[in-house]
Structure formats: C-alpha cells, structure tokens
Amino acid sequence: MKFLHLVWRNALRNKRRAVLTVVSISVAIVAISVLNSVLHSFSAAVEIADEARMVVRNQVSLIFPLPLAYRQRIAAMPGIKGVAAANWFGGVYRERKNFFAKFAVDAESYFPIYPEFGVKPKEFKAFMDDRKGCIVGRKIANLHDFKVGQTIPILGDIFPGDWEFNVRGIYDGLKPGTDETTMFFHWKYLDESMPVRRQGQVGFYIVQLEEPSMAASLVKTIDSEFENSADQTLTETEKAFQQGFVKMMGNIELLVRTIGSAVVFTLLLVAANTMAMAARERTTEIAIMKTLGFSGLGVAALLVAESVLLMFAGWAAGTAVSWLMCRAIETGFSAIFPVFPLKPETMALSFAVAIVTGVISGLFPAFHAIRTTIVGAMRQVA
C-alpha cells in the first residue's frame, strides 16, 4: 500500500496522456460491456424460460398455424397441467417506430401458466370482461403513456386492418428479467375478427407440465399424437424455443466475440504504447531508484502496477458509462431490447480483460526496467 502513492503520482505524471489513455480504455470497456449486454439481452428470454413449459408449433414453420382442436387433445394427455393458445399478432401502434410485441392469447389459460406476469386481480377481471380488452407491460405503458381505460389503435399487418384495444390492465414482471414490453389481448377477439377460412387457427400452444422431468417423454407423446395429421407438430421446451428465436438472428455471438476480440487487441496496443513511452522517458529515474536500493524486479512491479492502475481507472469509468448506456438502451429501445442488463459477469469479464491487459502492457516496460543498468542509464544522460 505504501507504494500506491508513488504509482499514482507516476501514472498522472503526464496528465493529458493519462487522461487520453483512460478515455481510450473506457471506450473499449464500453464496447465490450455493451456488446456483451446485447448477447445477454437476446438470451434473457432463454434464461428465464421455465423448465415446466413447452411450446407446440407447426412442424413446417412457426408461420404455419395449428388447428384449435389440438388444444383439447393435448390437454387430455397425462402429465399436462395446462394448455393455452397464442398467436403472434405483429402490427404497430400508430406508426412503425412504435413497434412492440403483441400476442393474442387464450387468457384464462395463458396467465396461470405465466405467473411472472403480475396483474392486479381487479384489472385482470376487467380484462376478462372486455372482449376488446388488453393487458400491456409496464415499460410499454410508461413509454407510450398508456393508461388503464384508454383505447389504443393498432395497425395490423399479419392480420390487416385497423384494430382497437382497450387497456384494462398493466402487468409488472414478478421475476427478474421478465419482459415488460408485450401486449396481450383475447385470442377469441382475433379469431372472431377473421374471415371464416382463417378461423380456428392457433399460432402455437403453450403447454404447462406437471413435472419438468416429464418434458422429454411428453415431447415424443405430443408429436407422435399428431404424426399422421395434416398439421404435424414440433414440440420443444420453452428454452429451446427461445434459443431457436435467437439463432434466427444469425450467429450474433460469433459477431460479438469477434468485435470484442478486436477491441481487446486495440486496447492492448493503446495501453502498451502508453506504458512503453512512460518507461522510455523514465530511464534515468529507473536508474536512480535502483541506486537508492530498489531492485530491478521492484521497479518492474511498480511499472506493471502503474499500467494496471490506468487500466483499472479506464475500467471504472467505462463500466459507469456502460451502466448508463444500458439503462438508456433499455428505456429508449425497449421494443427491441426488453431487458438490457449490465450483468455482474459482464463487469467481471471486462475487469479481467482490463487487469490482464494492464499486466501484459506493463511487461515490456518492466522488462526494460530490469535490463536497465544504472551506469548505462546515467551515461545516456551525460
């Protein structure tokens, strides 16, 4: 600890260079943190997926529906606790930039399967009593200033037309990471509004299991039940279903990791350059310290500590900015990123990157310090 003051003074010796280095490092840390948060945002739905929930969809593709009649047949299977029909609705509120997710759901069955969507009983009852009623997530309500009782217009695309819904309730996520940016309305309202040929069609079924351990056997049971039907099913756990969604966006993880690696490499160059300059300018002082009795390793350790200190300062500043950015993204782009967390593991990762980079970039000047001979350094001055 007694050397910290010395390390601090040396790190701030050239204030402009120190500040620019810290800013460069913090920009890199922001890039690493935000990119990682993008990954976490995409995988948030996967992480909170319930082990006891499965999704049954058309085997051909998610865009092909399943008959409503499947519901009773699935519900009758042993080990099934509940079944709810749901349709992805699409559509936009007033204009395209106001997009948020909307699902037509079989509310009576759907909400008991998703207890993490917390709705006040009074509001839920009002929703159930209103055919055109809807429940919206807290974030979307805040973003668009939706109030209970308000009628909101939605412009349909998959289901064309001008739709109107009455906000009857606002739900809050009762579990960390719960998406609060979705709107739910009655599947019956959607079905009844469709032409006869499109009625009785369900986008997918959400199935609740009595026991998560039954998932594997029930996947087989459900899919084999409809094997010889016109609409064959593909059943998977909610987690696998959400992972499929993430994969549809391409190999984002590879992209993020590639950019992250480039950022780390640049970070290393910046820090190494700063430390190399710092050590070169201080050759005489290194010699003086050795004359005073500091060992080569001791001086080297001080230089590495200085490099680590700069990286730590950059990490702290970068993490603070990242936190603010994540909050801003979560607020401003909630439709795309319902949750945009700066997770402790992301902070730990960027911290490790900063410290390891600090040590590596301090090694060259440290090596220089060890090799510097007092007589040689003094002769350079003379």
Partner: protein
C-alpha cells in the same frame, strides 16, 4: 584507529566499445577509514566516477576486490547489491536527480519505502533528514519549485535518511553557483564531523577538494600523489 570501511584491492575496469578495449582503472588499490572525508580528483577520463560507481556497487570491476562496509560487493548478485545499497550507501548526484512528480518530503521518503518502518516512523526520519539539511519548511515543495542548491540539499537528505555509514557524492557542486556550492560543502563537512559519515566525493574543483580530510588524485586509472602515498603508508 577506526576500521577501514572501504578496501579496494588491485581493481581493473575495462570497458569494451565494439572490439576496442578501453582500460579505465588499472590495478588500483585504496583504503578509506570509517569517518574519513576524501575527495577524488583527477582529469576527465581518469576513472573517478568509475571508481565511485564501483564503490556504490552500481558497476562491477573486471578484476580485483571491492570490500565496502564489511561486504565483498563484487560478489553480490544484483538483488543483494540493491538491498546492500539501500542499507549502507547514500548517493548524491551532480544533477540532484530528484523524482519530479514527488514533493521534497516524498523524495526523501523514497529509500525508506524499502524498509519496514511505519508511516509515523518514516515521517520522523524524513523530517529529521530535512531539518539537518535546513529544508524542514519545504516539505511540500516539488523539485521545480526549489533552487538548485535546495534541490541538492533535498538529494542529500534523501541520501542520509536511511542513516547509511557511507556517502558517495559525484561532483555534488558541479551544477551549482559558488554560494550554493559553499553551502553544500559545509553541509557535507558537517555530516562528516558531526554525524561521523564517511564521505567519498568526486570533484574537479580544487576548492571543494580542500574541504575533505584527504585528497586522492587519479590519473589514467591509477592513484597518484597523496593517494598513492597514503596507500604506501
């Protein structure tokens, strides 16, 4: 009679520049008793600074033995030499060589960071050293805020703060005006007489050399005049 604190025997120092051998010290022997204040004089290239560097353990002889403060320092490893310097030697440079980002107090404290002294003890030692050199009121001043003479006094405080028995000074007045030089020489004399420090001072200045209790002359890597005579004695 006090013990010899420095005993140099038949040392040779040869530098190599490309394939050329440049002998700097040639079979030099010297003995300095504890409490002596000697000045090393001689023309440029005579080997004064090289000898001082060998005594400080910051350079190694090509041949011969260098025994200082009871240690055969030519045989110590780099790490052992560093620890030995910290305990036994205070070095005063011509250009002061203070660390510019540290205050006078912090510069003087630097050698004590290598000891196990507590913060309070370090503070007491530093203040004592600064009081001896007359700069107790300049603790918070940075080197750039001090005159050349004051900087050199801080450097002397740094050299004596760990209470070494031997002070090595390489042209300590070479970069100072006459008045400051006089103050520094008086201070060195006081450290020698009052605090019993053994001092070896390299200087070009005959006036400065007169302050020493013994003058040693070097020429072409060997002792001449008084120095050689003292050795024969």
């Amino acid at each position: 009679m006090s013990e010899a604190i420095i005993r140099v025997e038949k040392i040779r120092k040869v530098y190599h520049r490309d394939a050329i051998e440049i002998p700097v010290l040639d079979g030099l022997s010297l003995e300095v008793q504890g409490g002596e204040f000697i000045s090393l004089m001689g023309p440029s290239g005579s080997g004064k600074t090289t000898l001082l560097n060998l005594l400080a353990g910051i350079d190694r002889p090509t041949e011969g033995s260098v025994r200082v403060a009871g240690y055969e320092i030519s045989r110590l490893s780099e790490g052992e030499l560093a620890a030995w310097r910290a305990a036994h030697v205070g070095f005063i440079f011509q250009l002061y060589n203070l660390i510019p980002v540290l205050t006078a107090f912090e510069n003087v404290e630097l050698p004590l960071l290598l000891t196990r002294l507590s913060k309070k003890e370090r503070r007491e030692h530093v203040m004592t050293a600064l009081e001896i050199v007359g700069l107790a009121d300049r603790v918070k001043h940075y080197p750039r805020q001090l005159s050349g003479g004051q900087e050199q006094r801080v450097a002397i405080a740094r050299a004596i703060v760990s209470d070494p028995e031997l002070l090595l000074a390489d042209e300590p007045t070479g970069d100072l005006d006459a008045r400051s030089a006089e103050e520094i020489l008086t201070l060195l004399q006081r450290l020698n007489r009052e605090f019993k420090k053994t001092i070896v001072m390299v200087t070009h200045d005959p006036h400065a050399a007169e302050r020493a209790s013994r003058q040693v002359h070097l020429d072409k890597g060997v002792l001449t005049g008084n120095g050689a005579a003292a050795l024969k004695k």
